[in-house]
């Protein structure tokens, strides 16, 4: 693996007295797609929240070669980390365009004024959003919401894009479309950390994968090797791949 853009060492997260995440080690190389798969309750969302600074954690998070001491969401966003959360967290009573503009809030504060251009690029990736630019985000369909959430994150021109279950609740066709777009995004140079339940789809587009189970990394490896690993097939690829 080339120089990692994100490296996590010994990450632990506790809720009250219970430790939910135990000593996680994980790397994302620049320009790669890395996926974290695992069953419900394994701690995938907890891990992303901790990396993003939404939850207090122990351990070391190194982003772009800098160890983050005082992890603050705003600071990480300014440095180029973005998270598209599982619930999308859109601003439902605001227009698609305003949602996108707010995605570039941190860059606007820093003095960048090229939001128009970035928005055109986002519209290039998601033509559907352009059609709906004046519509309120709350009135979009499930797939469009996911597109808006990703588009909004791209407005920040991130170095690392973290996606939490982008396939959640979407029809297979839309899931396919979203995954194609994620695979395409890789070509723009952004590194992607993809958390998914839909293990097969995630492993197909990822370079490297981790399997999270009850708060620990159970397996890791090149995604192709992982997809063929009998333990993954058995546990996570579900119904079709049961024991012969």
């Amino acid at each position: 693996m080339s120089t990692p853009i994100l490296e996590i060492r010994d990450l632990c997260v506790s809720y009250g007295k219970v430790e939910a995440l135990h000593h996680i080690n994980l790397k994302v190389a620049a320009g790669q797609i890395v996926t974290v798969i695992g069953p419900n309750g394994a701690g995938k969302t907890t891990m992303l929240s901790a990396i993003m600074g939404l939850l207090p954690s122990k351990g070391e998070i190194e982003f772009q070669g800098e160890v983050q001491r005082d992890i603050e969401v705003e600071h990480l966003v300014a440095m180029g980390m973005t998270l598209v959360p599982e619930k999308r967290a859109l601003f439902g009573e605001m227009s698609v365009e305003d949602n996108l503009l707010l995605g570039a809030f941190m860059r606007y504060r820093a003095g960048d004024r090229d939001q128009g251009k970035t928005m055109d690029q986002v519209f290039g990736t998601f033509p559907r959003l352009k059609e709906r630019r004046a519509q309120l985000a709350g009135t979009l369909s499930g797939g469009e919401r996911q597109m808006l959430a990703v588009g909004r994150a791209l407005m920040a021109k991130p170095k690392l894009l973290m996606l939490d279950e982008p396939s959640l609740g979407l029809a297979p066709l839309i899931v396919r479309e979203i995954f194609h777009i994620i695979a395409d995004l890789k070509k723009t140079g952004v590194a992607i950390l993809l958390v998914e339940q839909n293990a097969r789809a995630a492993l197909q587009i990822a370079d490297y994968g981790y399997v999270l189970e009850t708060g620990s990394v159970a397996l890791e490896g090149e995604s192709r090797a992982l997809a063929d690993d009998p333990r993954v097939v058995e546990t996570y690829l579900g119904l079709g791949g049961k024991k012969q």
Partner: protein, 345 residues
Amino acid sequence: MDLQIALLLGQDGIVNGAIYALLALALVLVFAVTRVIFIPQGEFVAYGALTLAAFEAGKTPGTLWLLLGAGVLVALIDTVIAVRGGNPGRIKRIVLWDLALPAAIAGLVLWLEPATLPLAAKVALSLAIVVPLGPMIYRLAYQPLAEASVLVLLIVSVAVHIALVGLGLLFFGAEGSRTTPFSEAQFNVGTLTVNGQTLWVLGASCVLIVALYLFFGRTLYGKALRATAINRVGARLMGISTTLAGKLSFTLAAGIGALSGILIAPITTVYYDTGFLIGLKGFVAAIIAGLVSYPLAAAGAILVGLLESFSSFWASAFKEVIVFTLIIPVLVWRSLTSHHVEEEE
């Protein structure tokens, strides 16, 4: 009651209602963005009015010392945090906003002899002293508890309120004050006499409401505040920090409060503790709106103003009882229309 009295009372009610509307808007804003029920809003009304009155009387208002003191305290706390967190780069901003700015205001006040200045300059100086107190109070009292429940934040609000009332008594004494009207003009419309100050209040309220509308609809910072109100986590992920949103909304609320005080000071005598009752009437209006709807809050405020002025005519001793009992039917109505399953925070 004849028509003339009715018109007079109606005029009174609408003027007061306009002020309550401004306060109600600020309360709804602060609650939506920070979940703080901003009980101390009324103290900003009193501080605004009494600071202006102190200038007129040729005194240095005590609020100036509060500004300097709060600035030093904020600077101290933030510097310690910045050094501990390994961000000494932040100290420049801290010195600028929490020390240099208050010092500059103090310098202006002590050097300019405000009593001799025109009214507009006095108003500007009063606002310059009182408005920065908003974000500073947010920093000191609320920011460390930003993740606490609405209930804890409410108790903090009440604590801030009584501390500010006590300080108000210390700064301005128990005597009330009235300031010079912005305009002495009088207009006769049929049998009704309209004072210049009345028009000032109504005009300023309208301008302020339009300005707020534009701020929230057109500027990125206004949109950022709305975004925080709609989805706090989403806003944080865009880099809109809870602290930034909190300070911004408290600045707006403090500004609206202080300006309201300055507008009504020529009409009513303002005491150090007057603000609380005025603020609470803004609250009744905000509650009518369920603490969420801006237009409903404004309409509720006019209703409260009218109710107050008419009940002061019919049963003046029970004026306050009637206004605050209004909240009961309002709550009945709200409890009948809301069907939400209680879910804890």
